[in-house]
Symmetry: C3
């Protein structure tokens, strides 16, 4: 088993099946040493876990948990394409889009759910640059959407 998946197992986590794209795109594209994931929603087994806006329908704590689910989906998509998550050399960039009720400005705490998980799983290699913003609406009425850019080790 790969080191990253061992680490996920230690944390009591397992990767889901990668969710199918919500439109005419693919979950991951590799270009040179970078892999770009599509924006991931907090979908589990084809079902969006919670709908609504954070700060009104969804609490900050729930939002952070949903951001973790987004990251697990992104990792599942990366594993499918890379074969092995040990090929992730560095998480480079994370963008977190938070569907925000008027006046909700704690996007960083929501997106920490995603960032903290990456650091727990990848250690130093999980420390990334990040932007977190509050958007008006997200696909399917999702409360959060996360995309990743990671640097990868070339195929062995």
């Amino acid at each position: 088993m790969s080191q990253v998946e061992s680490r996920l197992a230690e944390l009591g986590l397992c990767l889901p099946s990668p969710p199918p794209p919500a439109g005419s795109y693919v979950p991951v594209v590799i270009s040179g040493s970078l892999a770009f994931t599509s924006g991931q929603l907090p979908v589990q087994e084809g079902v969006l876990q919670v709908k609504g806006k954070i700060g009104r329908d969804v609490s900050l704590e729930q939002g952070a948990e949903l951001a973790r689910i987004c990251v697990l989906n992104a990792l599942a998509a990366l594993r499918q394409v890379l074969g092995d998550l040990d090929r992730v050399r560095q998480v480079v960039k994370l963008t977190g889009f938070v569907a925000s009720a008027p006046g909700f400005t704690e996007q960083p705490k929501v997106v920490n759910g995603a960032s903290d998980l990456l650091i727990r799983v990848f250690g130093e290699r999980g420390r990334h640059a990040r932007s977190a913003v509050g958007v008006a609406e997200l696909p399917l009425c999702a409360p959060v959407e996360i995309e990743l850019t990671v640097e990868i080790v070339p195929e062995r």
Copy 2:
């Protein structure tokens, strides 16, 4: 004629003049094997085609058509810088910002207008990673804004 432009012609499409930037920036920057386009609006001959928010002022179908216009503008900008769109080796990433009325959550269907066109024009090389989000407002009151990252073949 380049293969990509032949394909555009087959589809009954021709590239517009690249729209001038709406501010202090350039339409495309190349770095290594990646070309980054600026966000493109659905402008034709200097005129924004439709104003407003999707889900209130603009229908989903109109939005998807406007997303196609954004992509044609992005391709026009790329052609100007690359000389030839056959130098696009892979469309890597598309981000679609959809000006969304409250409760409008079909951003993926709007942005499919952009994605489907890229796949029709470039085939497998057009299959990209994507994020689609619903934003509060866009420049000039545009209903949609699309940016692309593409991998290019080095200059011949």
Copy 3:
């Protein structure tokens, strides 16, 4: 003194201490020849300079000035990681997120505050691709958030 810092001094500007991240991330990650900054807010000495939405609480002119502060923070973060801003070979991409009151659509003029400063400081090397969008809410109630991708010269 580096050429870029001389130029900043000529403009009467000096770089702040890089603001600490607002969450579980780092200010800059380098991957190959690209450096990605985290989204920067208009924070000075730990204090967000102005709160609110542009077009209601904050004027366009103030917004442009706040966008300049975001860029200075991004440059401070880059200097800390790169050692010397003369290692910036090209500003590649800027994304500007503008917290926008309903109906405010002049995001490009706000983000020009950031873009114009980069061009004044870096000259041709400062000319970048850009997207500017109007978002619902930003962290800490910030009126603007700016992220940069720059191409760097490898370490000497």
